[in-house]
């Protein structure tokens, strides 16, 4: 099963490499990875999506917790949560394609953020499934480039991951 693990870690040099290194060292897999500072400059928030059965996920969370730089973590998929990913996608857009891509973008509530006579750059936010859906919906249109941030997530309601 796919899990979203959200980690608060010390904003120290080398902390990220310890987390990433752990995954390869212990043969865990990483689907997406996303890291940035938080409102507290001493902390970074890292979100990783991974696939594994319960035993593997238990090991992943335990091994991550063992890292000295990891302050706290939560498996968001254990409860109600919101997940988002940002994608920017460059598509060939000439003639009739221009109107069709614009329509598809509107349906997915995306925005066209850059335009040339032959290319649209579309920005889209949502769950990974939605972003995959958009790529599929583009059908025969020529995709020139895709860039995605990887998943970020947060628990619903009053649950908070903080110190």
């Amino acid at each position: 099963m796919r899990h979203i693990i959200s980690i608060l870690m010390e904003n120290e040099p080398g902390a990220l490499s310890r987390v990433v290194g752990l995954f390869s060292q212990r043969n865990f897999n990483i689907e997406t990875l996303n890291v940035a500072p938080t409102e507290d400059p001493t902390l970074s928030r890292l979100t990783v999506t991974t696939i594994g059965d319960d035993r593997v996920i238990e090991q992943i969370t335990k091994q991550l917790n063992k890292l000295i730089d990891v302050v706290k973590l939560v498996d968001l998929t254990e409860g109600q949560h919101i997940e988002r990913e940002l994608m920017m996608i460059k598509v060939k857009a000439v003639g009739a394609q221009r109107a069709e891509i614009k329509r598809t973008t509107d349906i997915f509530r995306g925005q066209i953020v850059d335009v040339t006579p032959s290319v649209f750059t579309v920005q889209l936010t949502g769950s990974s499934d939605k972003l995959n859906g958009f790529i599929q919906a583009l059908g025969n249109n020529t995709i020139l480039e895709v860039v995605r941030t990887g998943v970020s997530g947060i628990a619903r309601g009053e649950k908070v991951l903080s110190l």
């Binding site: 060292q25 238990e58 090991q59 917790n65 990891v70 706290k72």
Partner: protein
């Protein structure tokens, strides 16, 4: 408060931390530190001949004393040479602090002379690592390093120190930090009372229980509590290879150690038990054999200070996260207060079964050599046990001799059996023995090794000469890489690929060239006198080159992919 340079802070901190010996080798990036050490006389530095040996010396000392071993090396090759030593300590959870020089901060990343990204290289094999960014942070970082290395599940910590951080011209305020706090690191101090109660209940009701102790008992200083629990309840006891000595092996409740080359009765008892209470072991592949067939009728209680160990390889019924000593103390208290008593009838039947297993192998473990026959390695170990009254620190390398030493030397005390169990590092033994002898000069320290392992770090004979470290070395010389050869006999139709040691040195001459004593032993009648002579030379390093039967195999040996009880018992028998 006084002003000190980074280098002087390091020397001063080591004094304040109570470090008596450090083991290392100088080089460019570490020279300021070496100069600071030269200008004081409390912390004594032992100059090895290869940095790997420095790490193993520190490791050996840590295993025997329970205190952290400290290593000091320079950048680049100095640092990378310690890697095998750090990995060895990591796999067996040994507290160690490794101070590595590094090139000047402004040169980092420029492929400077003797530059290696030591933090990166060591990352998967350390408990944690630090890089010094400013000289003023040295006392606190070092305190954190020692704190992390020694608490919770212990392990090695690397501190990378760029040369400019130790410059003699820059001075900062020094204050020894008595305590440090890390918001992200809080090792557990006690187990969950409800779980502990559950475990004691199960122990009282079990019909075929067994206690299984691991290296965590030794590291956590919990042997007395473990022994008390076993004795009060009259439960059979086994240990992992790393747990040897946690329970007196000459006690009749001891079944010896379990696993691949563990005793017949320990493996049988584990397989047939209905309750395994494991404290401080990690159920690794050499202990469990095939995990799918592991202890099919047993409930499993697992006590460990590291939660990631629990449920890693086998399913656990009652997990208890906590330090071995405090959890066992609580168990003992509960047992004392409990109105319940163990099921003595069921236990009597269980003991009868176990004693039958024991008796069935008695006297059939190996065939001792007589007269002119080639000595059996097993009987040499037994002779060493007798000659040292079972009191010695016994250090080994890795291979057949290691298993024979574990099987035939009976340990009644913890911290006396010193071996690289997890990583299986050939070359570990000699420097580890040196580290122990240096710190325990009054005790007998015996290295049981083989001619393969010993040749990996034999240059340390020179270090022993310099500092007068009189370890006793028993070289079980079978003129081949015995364990490799055994596997080749069993699995590769005796095709002995690269397991034969051609052109062995004359060890006697070699050892004498370094200024030590050496003797050669070939026959039974020479063995005892040679051992007596060797141990009588209290202040001499003595090397006994004991030629043994090169065709001997280690048995029992669990059959790969089988259950605990599936074993080869000799070249011709199996369970």
């Amino acid at each position: 408060m006084e002003l000190l340079s980074g280098a002087d802070m390091i020397a001063r901190f080591l004094q304040d931390e109570g470090v008596e010996y450090i083991y290392g080798y100088p080089g460019g990036s570490a020279l300021h530190i070496y100069d600071a050490l030269f200008r004081q006389d409390k912390v004594k530095h032992i100059l090895v001949r290869h940095e790997q040996a420095a790490a193993h010396m520190a490791d050996g000392y840590a295993r025997a004393s329970g205190k952290p071993g400290v290593v000091l090396v320079t950048s680049g090759p100095g640092a990378t040479n310690t890697i095998t030593g750090i990995a060895t300590a990591y796999m067996d959870s040994i507290p160690m602090v490794v101070l590595c020089g590094q090139v000047m901060s402004h040169l980092i990343g420029e492929d400077a002379f003797q530059e290696t990204d030591m933090i990166g290289v060591s990352r998967p094999i350390v408990k944690h690592s630090f890089s010094i960014k400013h000289p003023s942070e040295i006392p606190e970082v070092l305190k954190k390093a020692f704190y992390i290395a020694t608490t919770g599940r212990p392990g090695p910590v690397v501190v990378d120190i760029p040369k400019d951080m130790t410059a003699p011209t820059e001075r900062y305020e020094y204050l020894y930090p008595k305590k440090v706090k890390l918001r992200s690191y809080n090792p557990v101090t006690r187990g969950h009372s409800g779980q502990i109660k559950k475990a004691v209940d199960m122990l009282m009701k079990a019909k075929r229980p067994i206690l299984f102790g691991g290296g965590g008992l030794i590291l956590g200083g919990a042997s007395a509590e473990f022994t008390q629990l076993a004795k009060t309840l009259n439960i059979p006891v086994t240990t992992s290879l790393m747990g040897i000595g946690a329970f007196p092996q000459t006690d009749e409740q001891s079944l010896g150690w379990l696993g691949m080359h563990g005793s017949f009765e320990a493996n049988q008892a584990m397989h047939h038990s209905d309750l395994v209470v494991c404290v401080g072991a990690r159920f690794d592949d050499r202990a469990t054999n095939n995990t799918a067939k592991f202890c099919p009728t047993a409930k499993i209680v697992h006590v460990d200070v590291d939660p990631s160990t629990i449920g890693k390889t086998i399913r656990v019924d009652v997990p208890i996260v906590g330090p071995a000593d405090s959890v066992l103390r609580e168990m003992n208290e509960l047992v004392a207060q409990s109105k319940q008593r163990p099921d003595t009838e069921a236990l009597a039947v269980w003991w009868k079964q176990i004693n039958d297993w024991k008796a069935s192998r008695q006297g059939r473990l190996y065939e001792a050599a007589q007269g002119e026959q080639a000595l059996k390695p097993q009987q040499v170990v037994e002779a060493v046990w007798e000659a040292t009254s079972g009191e010695a620190y016994v250090v080994t390398d890795v291979g057949q001799h290691q298993m024979f030493a574990a099987q035939y030397y009976k340990f009644d005390k913890p911290n006396r059996w010193i071996t690289s169990g997890g990583l299986g590092t050939m070359g570990f033994g000699f420097p580890a023995a040196m580290g122990i002898k240096l710190n325990y000069p009054e005790d007998e320290v015996v290295l049981i090794t083989g001619e393969g392992s010993f040749q990996m770090l034999l240059q340390e004979l020179s270090t022993c000469k310099q500092y007068d470290i009189p370890v006793k070395i028993i070289n079980l010389n079978n003129q081949s890489l015995g364990m490799v050869r055994q596997w080749q006999d069993l699995n590769y139709k005796s095709r002995h690929a690269q397991s034969y040691m051609e052109s062995l040195p004359d060890f006697q001459k070699l050892v004498e060239a370094y200024g030590h004593e050496a003797m050669r032993v070939d026959r039974l009648d020479e063995l005892k006198p040679a051992l007596e002579k060797a141990f009588a030379m209290k202040d001499k390093l003595v090397f006994l080159d004991v030629y043994v039967d090169p065709f001997e195999h280690v048995y029992p040996m669990q059959i790969p992919q089988g259950s605990m009880r599936d074993m080869l018992l000799s070249k011709t028998e199996r369970t």
